[in-house]
Symmetry: C2
Subunit: 291 residues, 2 copies
């Protein structure tokens, strides 16, 4: 049973048009809300991440979801379950990491309970005032596809962590930065509907999800995808760029003439179905999946 | 390390006046938000609860938090982590239970991931329009203390479940009802500041938390606390009434002259510190605690 199948069951059960994007857009309240889980030994191992960094990352991945919607992240609540033997130092450091990732975003509550393993679930609220909110079903033929930055570095970092190393890639993996400026530039200035997602589950995964939700096809020029040349030391670096998750960059489909500062154009949207990378269909795709 | 100590560390770390009540009141957005965790083998066991009932209860306990604030519950998001072997039927039933507990409240998103044990974290948003929001620090000398209904039934139900029984008490334990009418009656009509909490961790626990946060004392007449006479078959039924958790009734401190339909007056607020039950100080109190 895969995550995606579960989501299909839930969608069928709820029959809600508010399920589909990483954030739910509550128009009557002028907010978006999102919630993400991090589970020990599924999403992270305390062998490779300390309490401060875990707190930092837990906040950053949620902030990234709000960035993907185009909203301004403002408040988070933290549901934390911790084993009995957790000490005060862990909590202190975890919250220090959370605070540093949050910056001006306020931590306003949550819950803390016992468990066998560490479980973190963060809910985050963003405000939509003066911003146009994205939807992954908003890509239209003729739009260009842009990304906010380099892909592959985070999954290269995970490999390095497994090899006991610490370097710029492990840093990117452990302490990702949500692309708030890229998001704000689009959301505050665009007039037309647009699609945007973060690439938390990999660039290819985000492209396919947008193409499917929008019922369009995409042509991607692989050579235009920005990446750090130093990841070429990994034989499978092209897989890292396309399928490696957790870069927390943004990918957006916007009108051709809409200019976005510090963006990289990697392809365009067409009528049809599916995503082509250098003319080759992304069909037999091994997607990043927690199950 | 106890839950309460963790919370103290977190409060010190965040230095936020938004931490303290079960809900955070975000005045600029006209909402309250709350988040609660339910962890397998800590809060529930699949031996005693099926997927439908688990979904129902997970929603109900969160709805109760919003009821305690005086706000109107409107939206929930659901963070769910499930073991690999979870089947589609479980998800379907869990969401059916959620939906039934939610009624008009909309389920608008969340996250689903893998884990060793079931972990549920629900965030819930309530709106504050035309309602006065409570705070546990708002109890004032001269106020009366009222409850919305019977105490002890839920913990009696838990005992019955452990004994393999099913009856009205197990039903109350498994499918609690948030006291939305009681909450609405107060929040829409009261002019003065007031304190309100749900009795999820027991009536005594809620009284002590309000007394401490408000820096007041309380005198409770035990004989006025409503309970189901059938729990008298348990030798410790008085403990169940005071310390047994999960009744999800509301306890409020409101001005003496403020009338609340279907409420039970159990005592009053005075200057000083501590909670007295029939003149006896609740000091050496064994509080319901997840750690």
């Amino acid at each position: 049973m895969k995550e995606q199948e579960f989501i299909t069951i839930i969608k069928n059960s709820l029959q809600s048009d508010l399920i589909g994007d990483d954030c739910a857009y509550l128009k009557d309240l002028g907010i978006v809300i999102s919630q993400d889980n991090l589970t020990e030994d599924i999403h992270f191992s305390t062998k490779y991440i300390d309490a401060y960094t875990l707190g930092y990352k837990a906040a950053a991945v949620n902030i990234s979801d709000i960035a993907a919607s185009g909203a301004k992240p403002e408040y988070i609540t933290v549901g934390l379950s911790l084993p009995k033997n957790t000490d005060a130092e862990f909590i202190k450091e975890f919250y220090n990491g959370l605070k540093d990732a949050c910056g001006e975003i306020k931590i306003v509550g949550g819950d803390i309970t016992g468990s066998d393993k560490i479980f973190i679930s963060i809910a985050i609220i963003g405000t939509t005032k003066n911003r146009k909110i994205s939807s992954r079903s908003n890509a239209k033929p003729g739009y260009k596809i842009i990304v906010s930055g380099k892909h592959g570095s985070s999954s290269a970092g995970l490999k390095e962590l497994f090899n006991g190393k610490q370097n710029k890639f492990t840093q990117i993996h452990l302490m990702p930065k949500a692309q708030l400026d890229f998001s704000k530039n689009i959301a505050e200035n665009i007039k037309e509907d647009y699609a945007m997602m973060d690439t938390s589950d990999g660039l290819a995964d985000a492209l396919i999800k947008i193409a499917n939700a929008s019922n369009v096809s995409m042509e991607i020029d692989f050579n235009k995808i920005p990446y750090d040349k130093d990841i070429e030391k990994f034989k499978d670096y092209k897989d890292l760029i396309l399928f490696g998750g957790e870069d927390y960059q943004l990918v957006a489909c916007v009108p051709l003439e809409f200019e976005v500062k510090n963006s990289f154009e990697i392809g365009y949207v067409k009528e049809g179905q599916g995503v082509k990378i250098n003319g080759k269909q992304l069909t037999d795709l091994k997607l990043f999946n927690h199950f």
